[in-house]
């Protein structure tokens, strides 16, 4: 009786292994940078891994096709990053016209990020004017790129 299902179980296991392999390829693959062997820094870096392990490789001489394009950074807010704000001050900037939030003790003006967020504007609008630490940590905790992006919007600290 049970033997009838063995091929099906094997199929499911093999298919899931394939799925995991594809996941790893797509999660790690785009972040691998191959540097020509004549470069002094021949390393592979996973930019999304919070604890990247550099791996030295040697490759034939490669001609870089194009340099990575720098992302346009939002205009800096004319406020000192050392300023401190209260939650009530942050709450006054709770809409799409002026969106401030606090995450893990830092205060950020993320107005310019609303339309740029890869996960959609709605997720950012939900952070405006409030302490969004738990929402941010649930979604992006330990991820290097979101942390770097968020840091670029810092205007001060929470008082």
């Amino acid at each position: 009786m049970f033997q009838k299902f063995i091929p099906t179980i094997i199929f499911i296991i093999v298919a899931l292994i394939f799925s995991v392999v594809i996941t790893i390829i797509f999660s790690v693959g785009p972040n691998i940078v191959i540097v020509p062997s004549n470069s002094t820094n021949s390393v592979i870096l996973n930019t999304t891994n919070p604890n990247p392990t550099p791996t030295t490789i040697t490759t034939p001489k490669l001609t870089p096709t194009s340099a990575p394009k720098p992302k346009p950074k939002p205009a800096p807010t004319p406020v000192s990053a050392t300023d401190s704000y209260t939650l009530s001050q942050i709450a006054q900037h709770g809409d799409s016209k002026s969106c401030w939030t606090t995450v893990n003790g830092g205060v950020y003006d993320i107005t310019a990020w609303i339309d740029q967020h890869p996960g959609g504007a709605q997720a950012i609008l939900g952070m405006c004017g409030i302490d969004a630490s738990s929402a941010y940590n649930d979604q992006h905790d330990g991820q290097r790129r979101p942390t770097d992006e968020l840091a670029s919007f810092k205007i001060g600290t929470l008082r």
Partner: protein, 129 residues
């Protein structure tokens, strides 16, 4: 083996291929543009799995690609359709009552219909049986 295909035999073939193409398209989009799908990942799943939302979207896409291909070629047709149908039905439940959820409910039921029909004449299962 009969050579003529009756009109009744065409229906499950169309259903199977159409549904597999739906899963293959959505799966490929999740692999290529994961950022467009991050908002669909429930926070509870992220916190429970301890994986980033991007990895979960990638795995979801890979799952749909692998089992979508199996459904397209009719390889373990019933099993593939059952897993894809239940998977989509689970997503439907997590969406609540919305236009997308109603659409996905219909698609999940169409996929589960393949489970009850089983293999058709163009399935690998049929050729191997």
């Amino acid at each position: 083996m009969p050579t003529k295909i009756t009109s009744k035999e065409i229906a499950p073939i169309i259903l199977r291929i159409a549904m597999s193409l739906v899963f293959l398209w959505f799966g490929s989009q999740q692999l290529i543009h994961p950022s467009n799908w991050l908002s669909f990942v429930p926070d509870s799943v992220v916190s429970f799995s301890h994986l980033s939302a991007t990895i979960l979207v990638h795995f979801n896409g890979a799952f749909e690609i692998v089992f979508g291909l199996a459904l397209l070629f009719g390889f373990f047709t019933r099993t593939s359709a059952l897993l894809l149908g239940l998977h989509l039905f689970n997503i439907t439940l997590s969406l609540g009552l919305s236009a997308i959820a109603v659409r996905d409910f219909g698609l999940s039921m169409a996929t589960l219909a393949i489970v009850f029909y089983g293999m058709d004449r163009f399935c690998l299962d049929y050729r191997m049986s």
